[in-house]
Symmetry: C2
Subunit: 333 residues, 2 copies
């Protein structure tokens, strides 16, 4: 329950939708730095003051934080009803000063800076022993939950392990015990051998549609090197390759599917896990092309109407064209 | 993967949305019976022929079935990639002949007939030893996944136990072992004692907001009698009470929140479970007032911005008014 974000129950009536903040009142635009809490990180031109113009990446605490680092500290129990404060930090990572520049169309170097800001904030929270997990995510488009138009990622550093990561950790642990190898490393091998679901690969990352993709065009980006934690990203060798993989994939989705809404998030091991643990961090991209309805809510299963092999072939072709003819592709995109 | 429903990957481009079928070509309207597969159940006026006009409830196989009762029967394995055919039946339960009558505004007796059709089809599939589970659900409004405007429920009779039901079964089993009682019966007792989350109750059902509601206005309808399987609904005593609870709740949501999209589904024990099993069937109603975005997808957790106590109070007040002044309420709705 996040009463920090609370609205009155009757504000949910369907007529009372909020509007997306227009550009002139956007709290994430340069010149409006005072509309956000003070920045916790910024990459900015030499000589410019904190919380003023001159930045190209800016990270601020989320004004509508669902988790707080200084909770009231009270647990409450009554019968079987038990509650505690949600411990954590919520941050907004503003992708660029340009309100109208969607992340899929940003220059490669700017995407590298975004990745750098992810790593910097991940490593920062990794030092806090009260925290268990860091989730970094990006919502693109209002149907995918982006409430402000200005492109931005979000970070949740929280005091518990999320259920969907726990499930992956547990599966990886079981597979490791029986097979003495990392299930994600093995998946990369199997996928590269099969080929049909591979979208792209460079020297450090493989982009592929997972075998049992939940939705049309679900796509994962996974490092080839076994690494449990995103915090261990190799800034020299892996950072540029990760940025390239993100940029090419998002651009293929943007161009090929006419700018659909999407979500991506990075799944990483619990904080302070050793690199050798049987987990393997990765990015999961889920375009929002269908609606999770009663079947998905009621079963926890997904019905996918497009084979992952077809999704992968569609994106692979787009990326091959972009890589072969980068200038034409930019111009026609 | 449901290739029966497949569209070409490029049909997902954002411009290429299908339109909701208009009334004159609606396959669920009277006079259009030949547009659907032949009916498997209908409540119809004496003397009218199957698959002709004269029905008030009509159940047909889903033309876009994601499961089939006669699968190819082949399993396929390659490396760790394993697949099998999705065994099951998908049906559409048309709520009324009236294209424009949303279920929340149907007369009480028609809702009883809907419940009767749920029970009839549940019991039918319960006889098929190849099937493990029956899920009955209703999607209201396009944002909640209703692809056709004419109100209808859906039934999935499938050859496996859905993960989200398994999770409830396992929790109920564990609680039963430690506490020698049904966790759902205990929840009803605790909720009725606490009172703050109870929306409504009649002689056989309790309507309440669950303690850790996932979304604003999530509401459960649960029988007071311990019954594992929906198929064991007592048609004389429980059917009218269930229909009343559904109708009052849906109408309060419809009026109070200005016809929001919503999903509901019935969670029931595995087929052919004895009534005494430590499970307790119930209906879960989830209005779609917020968007599941990167946080929910990445963690499997939900952030709810409205306390369930506030949701419950809002709906409780609506229902109390409706029950006290039924005629005025109908007129002003």
């Amino acid at each position: 329950m996040a009463t920090e974000r609370a609205r009155r129950p009757d504000s949910f009536t369907q007529a009372a939708k909020e509007n997306v903040a227009a550009r002139d009142v956007c709290p994430f635009c340069p010149g409006h730095e005072s509309m956000t809490p003070p920045e916790v990180l910024a990459y900015r031109a030499p000589g410019t003051a904190p919380n003023s113009e001159g930045w190209w990446i800016r990270v601020v605490p989320n004004l509508y934080a669902a988790f707080r680092l200084e909770p009231d500290g009270q647990e409450h129990r009554e019968d079987r009803f038990w509650q505690r404060d949600a411990l954590g930090a919520c941050e907004v990572l503003i992708s660029s000063p340009d309100h109208r520049a969607p992340t899929p169309l940003l220059p490669r170097l700017q995407v590298e800076e975004i990745v750098q800001s992810y790593v910097d904030r991940y490593r920062h929270h990794n030092e806090n022993p009260a925290l268990e997990h860091v989730l970094i995510l990006y919502n693109h488009g209002r149907p995918a939950g982006a409430s402000l138009e200005h492109p931005h990622s979000q970070l949740y550093a929280i005091g518990l392990e999320p259920p969907s990561v726990l499930e992956e950790l547990e599966g990886a642990r079981r597979f490791g015990q029986s097979n003495h190898e990392c299930v994600f490393c093995r998946t990369l091998e199997d996928e590269r051998r099969a080929g049909a679901r591979v979208v792209y690969e460079n020297e450090a990352f493989v982009v592929f549609a997972p075998y049992a993709a939940r939705t049309p065009f679900e796509t994962w980006i996974m490092p080839r090197r076994h690494t449990a934690s995103f915090g261990d990203l190799d800034l020299k060798r892996e950072k540029p390759a990760f940025a390239e993989a993100i940029q090419l994939t998002l651009k293929a989705v943007y161009d090929g599917l006419n700018d659909p809404p999407f979500n991506y998030f990075i799944h990483s091991a619990p904080l302070r896990t050793s690199a050798a643990q049987p987990y393997h961090w990765h990015l999961e991209l889920i375009p929002k092309l269908s609606t999770a309805a009663g079947f998905e809510l009621g079963t926890g299963m997904w019905i996918n109407v497009v084979k992952p092999e077809d999704s992968a072939a569609f994106l692979r072709e787009r990326i091959n064209q972009a890589v072969a003819q980068p200038v034409q592709s930019e111009a026609s995109g």
